[in-house]
Symmetry: C2
């Protein structure tokens, strides 16, 4: 008997990314409308998980959340006090933290029609997203990202993850959120470092997809440096829009080997690890983009003027573009061998053929499948000389 049954189906996913201010303000109906949008008549439950890093500046939230649910969400049962978790990459390293979230889901009887509401930076959203994705084969999660980086990139996509076996994002799933709410209130209390950090993902997506957006960023550097809220909101909106369009229009669950949105990320992931996450993701991405832009210049893909514009843009925003770990400890004209292993790890995560995004021009990415080490050596020398204001390109 050599029969075959063919299975074939499509699953539709949709969610909104809403921009607002004061998400838990009793005069703001956005969250309440979302929570009751599917089941107008039946009572459902919700638990809230808060990032301690954010909470330090927003300690009024516990009371505000309780009041909000009491006054605005009559059909939603808020199950106890919010669970507090550490912010930052460390929260993704411990299975015990995932287990705390799973325990909350279990004890508070959160089912697949209930909600997990996670308020925090990208790492917290990644970890809570993973726990929510595997409990009961997927609890609905509402993400409320609180940093520039999570509002314009990691928090608006379809992925979640934790680190395991000392490998970044080794465990995770593709699980679109129920909804994303970007609340600009949280940006006001970010440190300058974290305010700046997330801008590198906007530069990244502009460089590979939208030269006009890159021009716009160049024109708004002073306003961004002065922490003008409206300028940042516009940057986040445009960046989130470009990311969302790319994910929905392409290969959302990454079945291929191509990761265009990970321009500059092969080196960034490795640098984060090598610095024990002392570099933020955004800072590492800035260095990774500088490296791959220099590489694009070295192989003749990018003009001198275009390269200068990219490096100056980062520089004027206050990013460091070099890092001692880029360089071989014994020969500063060569790239660090430890960094090179990042290329293979990058390939390994998606599998298949090595696929690295480079630039053919500003706003125009192009993928290649091989990297020449000697050109990487040239690239790190270029970056170092630029950083020392002796740019010789």
């Amino acid at each position: 008997m050599n029969k075959i049954i063919q299975q074939n189906f499509k699953v539709e996913f949709n969610y909104n990314i809403s921009f607002t201010e004061g998400v838990f303000d009793v005069n703001n109906p956005l969250l309440s409308n979302l929570l009751t949008s599917k089941n107008k008549n039946s009572t459902t439950r919700a638990v809230v998980i808060l990032d301690k890093g954010m909470f330090y500046y927003h300690s009024y939230l516990i009371e505000q959340i309780q009041t909000y649910f009491k006054k605005c969400c009559l059909k939603i049962q808020l199950m106890g006090e919010p669970l507090m978790v550490e912010g930052g990459e460390g929260v993704k390293n411990k299975w015990s933290v995932v287990e705390n979230v799973l325990d909350l889901v279990n004890k508070k009887k959160i089912d697949r029609h209930s909600f997990v509401i996670a308020v925090g930076g990208g790492a917290v959203l990644d970890m809570v997203g993973f726990a929510s994705a595997i409990a009961h084969r997927g609890i609905q999660i509402i993400r409320i990202p609180t940093t520039v980086l999570s509002q314009n990139d990691s928090g608006v996509g379809v992925k979640n993850s934790i680190n395991y076996f000392d490998k970044k994002n080794f465990l995770g799933t593709f699980q679109p959120p129920f909804a994303v709410i970007n609340d600009q209130t949280f940006l006001t209390t970010l440190s300058d470092r974290h305010w700046r950090s997330g801008i590198s993902e906007a530069i990244k997506v502009a460089l590979i997809k939208d030269s006009l957006f890159f021009n716009w960023i160049e024109d708004h550097i002073t306003l961004l440096n002065n922490r003008d809220p409206e300028t940042m909101n516009n940057l986040i909106f445009k960046c989130a829009q470009l990311h969302t369009a790319h994910i929905g229009g392409g290969d959302p669950f990454e079945k291929g080997s191509s990761r265009p949105l990970d321009f500059g990320h092969w080196a960034a992931h490795k640098l984060e690890y090598l610095t024990n996450y002392e570099l933020t993701h955004g800072e590492a991405v800035a260095i990774g983009i500088a490296l791959d832009s220099c590489y694009s210049y070295c192989i003749g893909y990018l003009s001198e003027n275009e390269l200068k514009r990219i490096l100056h843009c980062f520089n004027n925003l206050g990013f460091e573009l070099s890092c001692p770990l880029l360089l071989d400890p014994l020969d500063i004209n060569r790239i660090n061998q430890k960094l090179i292993t990042g290329l293979e790890e990058f390939r390994e995560h998606l599998g298949g053929v090595l696929t690295i995004m480079l630039l053919r021009g500003i706003g125009q990415g192009e993928e290649i499948h091989e990297i020449e080490k000697s050109k990487l050596d040239q690239s790190i020398v270029l970056i170092a000389s630029f950083q020392n204001k002796k740019l010789t390109v």
Copy 2:
């Protein structure tokens, strides 16, 4: 700023369920063709995980698998000896076993274009499926189910799971396999108990969807009891086909509250737990179906003749339809209160409104949202009297 970005996309999933004999025989090109179907030119890797319960009767497999890969899969690198795991529900209770599979994926550098090949019963496939689904956000898995139950039901669908916090399937994902291969060789060494056990899922799907298939099962009871291979293959094919069509044609990732394929399962899940998994899933499902069929009769949905046909069918196949745990220990005319909690747990897993499938006739399921305890009492008395050959319906 109250802007909104709408995300909306569809993801297509497809896989084949192939029926064969001697999947690792060097003269059988099926597996080899599957492994190279996507990447004809590049080398990929594979690891194999074997169920010890099955391996006891098929110890030739290790050598056969090595020979098969050496001779038939030149582009596939088999990464070391197969990993052996315990068979049966216990394998789903330990995180350490999941971790062993994750460790294998990590150490053997299995990426998202490589393969995990799992050979075993439903519990092993569930556990390996879960580990594969979360490693690197999803490794391709080829399931080779080795029991009637896994070949006709659990192994051909899109779910995986492990037990956690003492709750069945508390953790899991929806992750369609790369392919499923049903190899009839493995059925020959099943105990009579496991040969019979999986038939209850075929009866289940016939009862809710296909009266002609139920007639066919009634007509083939003797051949099934005599372990006729061709009859069993036909039963498995038809059952797998009905399951596959239902999943693909409906709500594959179970976004609603309805679980039509879980007819008879609310009591079954609880009975498995209450007997510490001494009842097999199929045996528990037979009792669960008997209970819900009696209930359907008690509320006037099913005729006396139809109920008798169902109970006789199970009986003639050798299933026990009663179980002491159905009854209240202090009053054998009442249903066990512990069993009743299974209704709420069943609701909780998917969330939303309680939705229980009953029968309006043979081949015709109908969902209801409320269960009357007094009718459940009547139902267990009916089953007990039938089991004692004093059927009074």
